[in-house]
Structure formats: structure tokens, C-alpha cells
Symmetry: C4
Amino acid sequence: MVKRQKKHKSFFEKLRQRINIIIHGVNTPAGKIFDIMLLGVILLSVLLVLLETVENLDNQYHDILVLAEWVITIFFTIEYILRIISTRKPLKYLFSFYGIIDLISILPMYLSFFIPSTKILSVVRALRLLRLFRILNLGNFTGQASELKLAINASRTKITVFVYFIFIISILLGAVMYVVESKESGFTSIPTSIYWCIVTLTTVGYGDIAPITSLGKAIASFIMILGYGIIAVPTGIVTAQIANSKSRRKLFAPNCPNCKSQPLSDSAKYCHNCGTNLT
Amino acid sequence: MVKRQKKHKSFFEKLRQRINIIIHGVNTPAGKIFDIMLLGVILLSVLLVLLETVENLDNQYHDILVLAEWVITIFFTIEYILRIISTRKPLKYLFSFYGIIDLISILPMYLSFFIPSTKILSVVRALRLLRLFRILNLGNFTGQASELKLAINASRTKITVFVYFIFIISILLGAVMYVVESKESGFTSIPTSIYWCIVTLTTVGYGDIAPITSLGKAIASFIMILGYGIIAVPTGIVTAQIANSKSRRKLFAPNCPNCKSQPLSDSAKYCHNCGTNLT
Amino acid sequence: MVKRQKKHKSFFEKLRQRINIIIHGVNTPAGKIFDIMLLGVILLSVLLVLLETVENLDNQYHDILVLAEWVITIFFTIEYILRIISTRKPLKYLFSFYGIIDLISILPMYLSFFIPSTKILSVVRALRLLRLFRILNLGNFTGQASELKLAINASRTKITVFVYFIFIISILLGAVMYVVESKESGFTSIPTSIYWCIVTLTTVGYGDIAPITSLGKAIASFIMILGYGIIAVPTGIVTAQIANSKSRRKLFAPNCPNCKSQPLSDSAKYCHNCGTNLT
Amino acid sequence: MVKRQKKHKSFFEKLRQRINIIIHGVNTPAGKIFDIMLLGVILLSVLLVLLETVENLDNQYHDILVLAEWVITIFFTIEYILRIISTRKPLKYLFSFYGIIDLISILPMYLSFFIPSTKILSVVRALRLLRLFRILNLGNFTGQASELKLAINASRTKITVFVYFIFIISILLGAVMYVVESKESGFTSIPTSIYWCIVTLTTVGYGDIAPITSLGKAIASFIMILGYGIIAVPTGIVTAQIANSKSRRKLFAPNCPNCKSQPLSDSAKYCHNCGTNLT
């Protein structure tokens, strides 16, 4: 990141660069160790937020939990300030995805001075766990993630159309079940029936609401088999997309300069058709 | 839609055309704005029908809800009449898919004068939400939807065969569970057992009926693993279908200049249908 | 089926042939009508067996149900005898798949004279519903079914290996949950824990047994994500198999007699490579 | 395994070889019969461990169960010792996968003399059931298993990324539900909410915890549809992987006679690695 090396640098400039390398860098050993340690602290801080809501634990260790959370919040605050002053483009960091997450990870604790109930918002720290992908930047993890992302993006329109249909079907089937089933079995209103319909279509099936009448059970059976059948649709869409992106990946290699035939793999060294050396 | 322009038109004819463009058109800005507003009103009207069945809300706001519903119904009625008188082919609209839905969206409210319980049928208005696809007509939404539709249509026969098998299996396994399990665990009759079997095979699992005996649990485990295995079948069918239609669509090669048939592959040198040289 | 026409036939021989055509044939109108009517009677008879186990219905209409069942059983018996005497190869029919099903469809009713509890076995009549595929023989239903069958057969070994693994994993995880969870939450023995583990892995989730302790919930979460991940395996196997059999189907057309290149589709009339007429 | 035949062998050496062939061999009839019998005993021993935890059975047959378990443990111990002394490389066996499993299958019973509660650990014997794959070594079972293994291995990174995302989403959605839902509906702490979120996302749906409020139900519906959508992702990954490995396996073309690398397609005319003419 810091390519231009100046001959005469002030002490602060040197310090700034040193912090920059440790805090923003992932290629240097110091930067990597810092990032891994940071991830550990993030994990710990998320765990603290979660455990504070467990009544037994909170009753016993309330003071320790609060203290630990404040220590981590102050540590995150120092880290956040260092990130801003160490980079050459503080605005770019401030409005980046990670910059915004870093800010909203520390704000709730300070806000809780004035409005105690905002403390729970600290849970957004979980988003900082996404930093793992920055640490693994050099491996093939991000490649895999971006491949996933591409496949999901490409399938988005189809899945939106699909979900829209599901909603319309759920409204109609929910209304039918509301009419068929009595209020005793839990179908107290059409919105509740729609909720039940989604629970059934997605094969979750809590069982808090379940049909009692014969006709209701028959319709429910129909909805289940429908859900069973249509679960195939998003799966099919995404699978075809991934399989497709897989085969499209093979097309990155240029065609044979001699016979113009397409190579069968990116790693092919010789043309499969005329034997011309491709490298 | 209105291609032939007459030189001398009466005022009413002009008005009819103007309404036609707004109400039936989707390509003009006025038509698009009308359609989006209409979709908003439809959404609102569906919401009203749903909320009226929620007891607390209905008790508090009964009069407002009824009034709002009548306002919307009258608005829909006017729209329906305008649609009929503004088009040149009223019969075509009347018996089209959207025409029938538009009619049965307003009928239940008027019917509820005579038979109050028919009011709930207003929920069929949810089908009017399908108009969204008309608005998005020009985008790639409909292309995606029709691709989905094609894949589902092509898989229909296979999935029907599959569902028929599932039913026969469910009857047999349901009878087995009825014999094995006592009535205390909910298996009160074979139809109920079949219902349970479908609940289990589709991995919904409400838990309102669940085996108690060891043998029943063992058979249930077998049914679950069976269901787990056969869920793969419809998924496999649809996926293969989508992947297939995808690879068929991937063709960028132009159609045959002679017989206009689509080439089977981008690399085809001769038309598969008439033998014309494509290069 | 009866190809050789004798000039002089006895009355009985003629009758035998006539019955044969009606009862065994599917290509003649008379045979088709008989088969469709038979399917209706089978459906009715299965329905009767199911309804007899519903207490309310059985109390009210016991006599009618029993009478109807006897009428159908006698009808099936006559049909069975006619099938035997009308065919030239009675033994072949007797030991065929449908022959055995036809026999065990009528036996339970007669057996119920001596052992009343065997009546429930009449439910095997549901297997006679498979006759539908004989009726649809001429359409493309059976082709679809046999394609399904092929794909399932080819995947069988892989799915067996997979299920065997699932069982070993379930035993180990079941034992872990038995140790972790108290008996109050339903984990009363390792077999019960294994049952719960299968219920969870297959994402059925009845909820009759559910972890209470924190550690139990954590392990359960792990098992669920595991199940979520491995549901992909049988689906992947079957999908790949179906997609594979789909692309293999394209290979039935012979190669081009001129340039020996493989046609891109069975329906191609001209070689895509050299333009030779393939028909 | 024993290829070099010595002319003069002591009696013990001959016995050692004989035992080696029976116990370690799978190609000889004696070895195969021994392995099948051993698998039966392993199955029996696993069954015994399971049944001992069923209270009713243990109360009635406690002595028989304990006796049977000791008999089997001693049999396994003798087998273990014979395996060590009969092989030429005892250390290789001792530290092999099966060697370690064989040891930890017998240890818990002896340990239970000192610490009774360790007896339950005998359940690890279930891992010995994996020996089935050794017996079926010669068939195509292992090929299928290794193909499965390859596909799962190749998908591992993608699935890890996916599960990591699921965890972060579950933490955030769990916190949201904890805030929205009251403690009465079971959302007593954020960890419990996360547990519920995983139960819902994976479509297991026990129903021990279920939303009561309208907002909670709406968010739950969203989570279900999300889970329904993202179940497609691991399925898609594994399917694409299996389909991919399948098409790579379909190659019947022989390897390159020069560099021994496998051709990328049956139709390749030149080796992609060294350019040798393959035809």
C-alpha cells in the first residue's frame, strides 16, 4: 500500500506507516497476527453480548461481563481512531463497508449511557466477523465466496419471481384454510393462516398450528406435497447457475492460435485438436 | 395498440382511446403510472381483507375497514367498467385471464349484501397481484418467469408420476403405522396415518402425531430416510430440466437463414434441419 | 396378443378370446374402458378400507361399508378367475407382479372369516393402483417412469453407502446426546436418541423430543447444519444421474456416415459438420 | 500380502501366516468369511450397548446383557492381540485408522472396572462397522464411496464459507427475534434465539420455541423463506461438483502413451499436456 518511500520522514509519519501496515495490511506477518488477534477479540465481544442476555449467567457475573464489554469497546474505539489517523484516505475508510460496521460496533455501548436499551445493538459486532474473509484474502476462500456470490446474484431475479408467486399462493391457501379450519386449531385469522402456510410450504412445520378437521388435513397434505415439489425450483435454479458458472470458467483460456478450436481446460498446455503449444 | 389513426374522431372516441392507453397500455408513462398505482391499491385491498379477519383489529376499526373496502370495491368496479368500454374488443377482455380475475375480485363484496359469508371470497383479489408481471413486461422478469414456467411444464409429467408413487407408498406405510401404533399416539385411523406419513415424508414434521412404540419409531426412521432420499428426485428432475433449458438458451449463433430453425450448437457449420451452410 | 386366427372356433374359445381382449388388452377401446372402470373400482375399494378405520364413519355406516367391501371383493374374485381362464398362459399371469398383487388383494377378506384382524391387509389393494401405468402404456408416462427408475437404480449404490454412513453417525451422535441431555427432555435411551438424531438430520423435527440444556442445544445446532449440508449429497447424486441420463439419451442417433461426427440431437436431419443428409 | 515364501518355516511362523491371511486378508474365502462373521459380532455388540440404556430391557435382562458384553469384549481383545502378533508390521497396524478404532472399542469396558460411567464409551464400536467397506473392497462400493468423498472434499471450502455466513446471519436474526418476542414464547436469551434461528433456517422446526407476536411471525416467515432459498446453495454446490466429477469420469479414452496424463475429452486428438498425437 505504501509504495512511494520518502527519504526524510518525521517520527510521526514513520509511526503512522507502521500502524498502517499492522492495522490495514494483511500481507505482512505483523498485519496477519494483528488481524487474527482482532478476530479473536471480536468473537469474544460477540460472545459477551450473547451471554449477557442469559439470565443465570448475567445474575452471577454481571459486573465482570459489563467490565469486559467496556474494555473491549474502548479497545475497539482506540482501534477505530488508529485506523482513521493511520490511513492516507480517512474518508474512504470511514464510508467503506468495514468502516461503517466498525463505527456501529462501538456506538451502542456509548449510547447505552443515555438510553440503556440500545446496548443490545452491540450484537451488530457479529458483522465484524466478516473480516475473516480479509485475513483469508490470499487463499482461495474469497474466490469461492465470490463464485457463490455470482451464482446467487445471477439467480436473484428468478428467485424473486419465485418468492412473489409463493406469497400469492400462500395468501390464497391461507384464506382457504382459515375458512375450512375452526379457530380452536390455531387458524385465528387469515394472516395467521398465511404464516402457517409458509411454515408448511417451507417444510419447517413447528406444529403450534396444525389442522384438525379431515378436510383441513387433506388440504394440508396437498400443500406439503406442493411445497415438496416447489422446493426443487430454487434448488434447480441455483444448481444450474453454479454448474453453469463452473463450465463458463473453463472458457477463460484463449482459443488455439493455429486451428481456433476452444481448449477443453484452462490448464491445457497443448491444443487437443492440432497439438499446437498454447503456452 | 391503436395503430389506425382516423382523421375525424368524435370526442367520445378520443376519450375512449385516451382511457384505453392509460388503462390497458404499459408502454406509455401514463399507463405505467396508472398500473403502479393500481398495484398499490390492490395490495392495500388484499391487506384490508386479511386484517378484517384479525379479531382485535376488526373490533377496534370495523367501520373504517368496511368503509375502506367499499371505497376500493367501487373504485375496482369503475375501473372494470372503463376497461370494458375503452377497449375495441370487450369480449376478448371479458373472457381473458385478467378479465375474469377482475370480475371475481369485485363480485364477493356485492354478493355479501345477500349472503354475508361470501365476503371472505374477496381474497381472490390476491390474484390481481399477478399484474405486476404485466408492468414488468418490458424488463427481463417475464423472460425469467417463462423460463421457469417452461422448466416446470417439462417436468410436470415426471413429477405427476412421482407424486402418484408417493401416494401409493403413503397409503401402505400409513396402514402399517396404524396397525403398529396405538390410538393414544394419534394414529386414530388409516387416513390420519396417511396424513402423518405425508407430513413425515415431506420432512414437515408437525409433531401433533408422533410414534411412541419402539417399532413405530423404527418404521418412522425408515420413512424419514426414505423421504430424505426421495426429496432428491423432484429436485433432480427440475434441476436437470433448468440446466438443460439453460444450455439450450446459451446459443448465440443466429438462426438458419434458409429455414429459420435455431442451430443446436454455436459450433454447427451446417443447419441440422435443412443442411444450409451456416458459415 | 391373439395373432393366429383359427377358422373354426368353438363358442367357448371365442368367448375366451373376447374376455382376453377386454381384460388383458389395453390397445382396444373395450379393453381401455374396462381398465379405466377397473381403476375406479380399485380406488373405491382402497377408499372403503381407509374409511372403515375412521371410528365415526364406521359406527354410522358399518353395514354399508362391509357390504360394499364384499361386493367389490367378489367382483375382484370373478375378475381374477376370468383373467386366469381367459389367458393362454395362466401360470405366467399367476406368478407375474400383477398376478400376485391381484391374489393378495382378495385373500385378506376371505381370511377375515377365520382371523378377523387380517381384514386390514386389504390395504395392499393400493398396489393395484399401479395398473394406471398399464393404461397409460401408450403415452409417454411409462417412458418417464422408466427414466426415473433408471436414474434411481444407478444412484442406488451411492445412496446405500450414504445411508450406511448416516446410520453410523446417528449412533455416535445419539449416544453423545444421551449422555449430555437429561432423561426429562425425552432422551430416555440411546435408541430413542438415535431416533431423535434421524428426526433432526432429516430436518423432520417433530419436537416430541428436544434438547433442553445449553450444550445439548449447541450439539443439536451442529447436527442440524450437518443435516442441512448432507441433504445436498443424495440430491446431488440423483440430479447428476438424471442430468447424465438426459445427455446420454441424445447419443442414440448414429454418427454421420460421411464425416463420422456425432449429431448434436436425435432429431437432426442434416449433419452439423458437413451437411450430409442423415435420414 | 505374504509374497515371499520361505522354504523352511517354524510351526509358529506358519501359524502366524495362517492367522494373518484369515484376519487381515479379504481376498481369500477364509478371510472373507471371518470378516463377515466379525461384522455380525460388531453389529451385535453395538446393539447390546444400545439396549443396555433402555431401562425396561436392562431391568429384566441386566445380567445377560452384561455377560454378553464381556464375552464380546474378550473376543475383541483376543482378535486385537492376534492382529498385532500376526502382522509383520505391528506398529503400522497399531497407528492405522482401524487399529486405533479397534483399541478404543475394547478399552471402555476394562476402564469401567475403575470408572463405571465410562462404559457408555463402548458405543465407539459403531465405528468398527466401517469395516464393511473393507469387505466390499473388491466390489464397486469403495469406488462409489471415494467418488462421494472426492465431491464432498472439493465442496468443503465453499460449504465452510456458506456455514460461516449462516452463523453470522443467525446471530443477527436471533438478536432481532430476542428483542421482538417476549420471554413467554421461549426466546429467553440471544443464544436460545440463535438456536431457534438455526432450527428454522434448516427447516427442522421442533416447535418447542415458536413466535407468538405478529411481528415475530412476520420475521419468522422471512427467515423460513430465506432458509428455503439458501438450502439451494449447498445442494447446488455439491450437485455441480458431483456432475462435474461424473463428466470427468465418463472418459473412456486411454491415457497419453507419452506422459500418461488423462485426456480431457474422448474426442481429443492431441495430448493437452505434452502434445503427443493420440490417434
